[in-house]
Every structure is written in structure tokens, then in C-alpha cells.
């Protein structure tokens, strides 16, 4: 399933992409879709099943891509 992870920082996206690539996923960084965020940050599109253990503090949320610009929230990271 295609998913998109959003981040609070560009560095968070970079780290997440590296982590997933090391696990064999073809994770790719791209500008975050407007529908998901008003910020102009970086997101990561990836295929392997998301596990909350993959999240660090820089991760904001993970969405399932449901075709033609539709997204479904899978995971929302908690903040203090």
C-alpha cells in the first residue's frame, strides 16, 4: 500500500527515508501534498507497512494514499 509520511523538519524526512531504504523499501522524498499540510515541507512516499516503532519525534503523521488526491490518516504522532 502506498503511504505518505509527513514531518516537522526536512531532516526528519531525510532520516526516515534512509531508515526505510536500509530496510529495502523504495522510499522517496517529495514536497508534501497541499491537501496534507499548509507547510511547504518534505514528505516521504513509501510502500512497506508502517509500524509506529518507525516514528521518531520529527514524524508528524502517516497517510494511506487512496488514489486521485485522496488520503486516509493512519497514524498521528503524539506531541508533548
Amino acid at each position: 500500500m502506498e503511504q505518505i509520511a509527513t514531518f516537522h523538519t526536512h531532516f526528519g524526512a531525510l532520516t526516515f527515508q534512509k531508515k526505510l531504504r536500509a530496510l529495502g523499501d523504495s522510499a522517496a522524498m517529495m514536497p508534501v501534498p497541499r491537501a496534507l499540510s499548509a507547510s511547504c515541507g518534505t514528505c516521504v512516499k513509501f510502500g512497506m507497512d508502517f509500524d509506529p516503532a518507525m516514528a521518531d519525534e520529527d514524524l508528524d503523521a502517516v497517510y494511506a494514499v487512496e488514489g486521485s488526491g485522496k488520503y486516509r490518516l493512519l497514524f498521528q504522532n503524539e506531541e508533548e
Binding site: H8, T9, H10, F11, G12, L14, T15, K18, K19, M29, M30, P31, R34, A38, S39, C40, G41, T42, D56, E57, D58, E79, E80
Partner: protein, 354 residues
């Protein structure tokens, strides 16, 4: 068709911004300066007496409109998120440095595009420098640069910039004796208040909706070969050019005799290297920082305050260029600014994780 749907809004937004800028110049703003975040923040700094350069003192209603327009649109879209606390002092210093670069070149990235649309070929050097600065900044992003994440802040924090903007509007309308108003150009050249305010509101709302950003366009093109934001940038240029031609604003493709500009290529270029580099580390151009400051982002508000203070320093210490050219002090300041921004970049590389 889906491409048009995807990119249509940013192209329309860019075109509207370019046209509005041409109209503002036609209605009184200096030529090729229908909009300029750096120049207008500098004018506001002068109006409240932070610097005493008599030719650049005016409370520009466009800035007030930008902040409030962005706030309105963010509220409508339920995107008014109050966040902050991501290295605020570093952001202040980066904002300061960006302003030093912008006042070397004589314009923010938005005015750079508007200068191109008015035929000012000096801005081509600015554009090259701007792209170079962004390229250098992306090296830092790729190497793990981060100012650390922002966190949710008290609601009141998000309303500070909009309230300051409203306060400025009151001062502009009441014109109390302690506020400075230039009687000479360029500070005295201004479109009518209502028109300028509405222009700011429209551009602020559009920019919030579309995330229009001069730095983001080139950054995304370099990092991801994504040209979405760059389309907005190009639309501003085309619309400003067409608007200027229709309205009879001067359009002469040349290096000399351009409004509020000089033709020392090296310093036009280096000034914008500093703007591009600093803005990438901030995450957006001065326009974008202003829009975010109206959307509840107090990190961007701090960057804007850094720009205002930077502008005051630029005029108090003779760093800002003029139509006569750059100053020696300004040249030293730009070099120092580049060193400071590079040092901030290097000091915040994070390689521990992953």
C-alpha cells in the same frame, strides 16, 4: 487535465500577484516595487523610528494586509496552527542576514522577479546569485541541517503578529506625530492606503492557500525535480511584465537607469546569494515567512522581527545600497552575513540518527 488541476491555482496566484504589483506601481508605489517584503519591512522600521533614513519611512499597508490575509485564509481552512520554539534566536539571526543581503541587492526575491518583469537586467545577476545561494543551502539540507522541530504554543502566541499588524494600521490611519512619513522618494511613493491594504489581503490569502514561495520553487526543483512552486514564480514574472506594458509602467530591458537599482553585477549577485542561502535554512523566502507569521507560526514571526531589526541596522550603519550603488560597509556586512549563515548551517548538521 489533472496537470492543470494540480498546477492551475499556483499559476493563477502568481499571475494575480504579478498583476497586483503592476497595478500598485501604476497607482503610486515605486516602479518595480509594487510589492517588496524587504523594502516594505524596511520602510516600516523607518516609520517607527528604528532607523532615520528619511527617504524610506512609511507604514506599508501591503505588509499589514499580507499578515491579515494569510491569517484569514488559514482560519477558513482550519490551518491556523500555533507552533514555535524551533531555534528562535538562530531564526532571528538568519532573518537579519537575509535582510542584509536583500538591502544589498535592493529587494527581496519577490521584488527580484518584479524587477525582471520591468526589464531590469541587473536582477538577472540577482537571480543567478539567488539560485546559487539556494543550491548551497540544499547541500546543507542534504547533509542533515535542522533547526529542530517546532512544538505547539499557547494560542495567544499566534495572534501577536496579526495584532502588531492591526496596531500598525491604526498608526498609519491616525498618523500621530511620532511616526515618520517620508516626504521624498521612494518612501513617499505609495499607492492609496485602501488599495494597498486590499492588495496585501488578496496576496496574503492566495499565498497561504498556494504556499507560493520564491525560495521553495528553486529548492524543490533542485531537491526533487519538482517544478510546482516554480510555476508560480514564472507566472509572477509574466504577469508583471504584461501588466507593466498594459498600464504604461516603464519597461526597458537594460542594465542602466532602472528604478531603485544599481548596476554592479557582483554585489547584486552576492546580495542574493546571501538571501537564497539564509532563506533555505529558514525554510522559505521573506514573503513566505510573513505568510507563516500570520498563520500562527511564531518561528516565522521571529524571523520577520529579525528582518525588521536587520533593516534598521542596514540603514543606521550605512549597509544598505542605493541607486548610487553598494557601500563598502554593506559589502563587508554581506561577507560577514555569508560567514554567519554558513556557520549556523554547519553548527546545526545532525548526523547522529539513521
Amino acid at each position: 487535465m489533472s496537470k492543470l488541476k494540480q498546477h492551475g491555482l499556483i499559476i493563477v496566484a502568481g499571475a494575480v500577484v504579478g498583476l497586483i504589483a503592476a497595478i500598485l506601481s501604476w497607482q503610486g508605489n515605486p516602479y518595480n516595487m509594487g510589492f517588496c517584503i524587504a523594502c516594505f519591512l524596511r520602510d516600516i522600521a523607518g516609520a517607527v523610528g528604528l532607523h532615520r533614513a528619511e527617504t524610506v519611512q512609511y507604514i506599508r499597508p501591503e505588509i499589514i494586509g499580507l499578515v491579515l490575509g494569510a491569517m484569514g485564509m488559514a482560519m477558513v481552512g482550519k490551518e491556523f496552527n500555533v507552533r514555535g520554539g524551533s531555534s528562535p534566536v538562530l531564526r532571528f539571526v538568519l532573518g537579519f542576514c537575509v535582510m542584509v543581503g536583500a538591502l544589498m541587492f535592493l529587494g527581496c526575491p519577490l521584488r527580484m522577479v518584479l524587477r525582471l518583469g520591468g526589464g531590469d537586467l541587473n536582477a538577472v545577476l540577482g537571480l543567478i546569485g539567488f539560485a546559487l545561494g539556494i543550491l548551497v543551502g540544499t547541500f546543507f539540507l542534504r547533509a542533515g541541517f535542522t533547526l529542530k522541530k517546532s512544538t505547539p504554543q499557547p494560542k495567544a502566541e499566534g495572534f501577536v503578529m496579526p495584532l502588531i499588524s492591526l496596531g500598525l494600521l491604526v498608526l498609519l490611519v491616525l498618523r500621530p506625530a511620532f511616526i515618520f512619513f517620508s516626504s521624498e522618494a521612494p518612501g513617499s511613493k505609495a499607492a492609496p492606503i485602501a488599495l494597498a491594504l486590499i492588495a496585501g489581503l488578496v496576496v496574503g490569502a492566495l499565498a497561504q492557500k498556494t504556499r507560493l514561495c520564491m525560495v521553495g520553487g528553486i529548492r524543490d526543483a533542485i531537491l526533487f525535480q519538482d517544478f510546482h512552486l516554480l510555476l508560480g514564480f514564472i507566472a509572477i514574472f509574466v504577469a508583471a511584465l504584461v501588466g507593466n506594458l498594459i498600464l504604461g509602467n516603464p519597461v526597458n530591458f537594460s542594465f542602466t537607469d532602472q528604478p531603485v537599482a544599481y548596476n554592479d553585477g557582483l554585489w547584486n549577485l552576492l546580495g542574493m546569494v546571501l538571501v537564497g542561502f539564509g532563506s533555505v535554512l529558514l525554510g522559505g523566502c521573506p514573503l513566505r515567512q510573513l505568510i507563516l507569521s500570520g498563520s500562527g507560526n511564531s518561528d516565522s514571526s521571529v524571523a520577520v522581527l529579525g528582518m525588521v531589526v536587520g533593516a534598521a541596522f542596514c540603514h543606521n550603519f550605512g549597509l544598505a545600497s542605493s541607486a548610487k550603488g553598494p557601500t563598502a560597509n554593506g559589502q563587508i556586512a554581506v561577507i560577514l552575513g555569508l560567514i554567519v549563515v554558513a556557520a549556523i548551517g554547519a553548527a546545526n548538521l545532525n548526523r547522529k540518527k539513521a
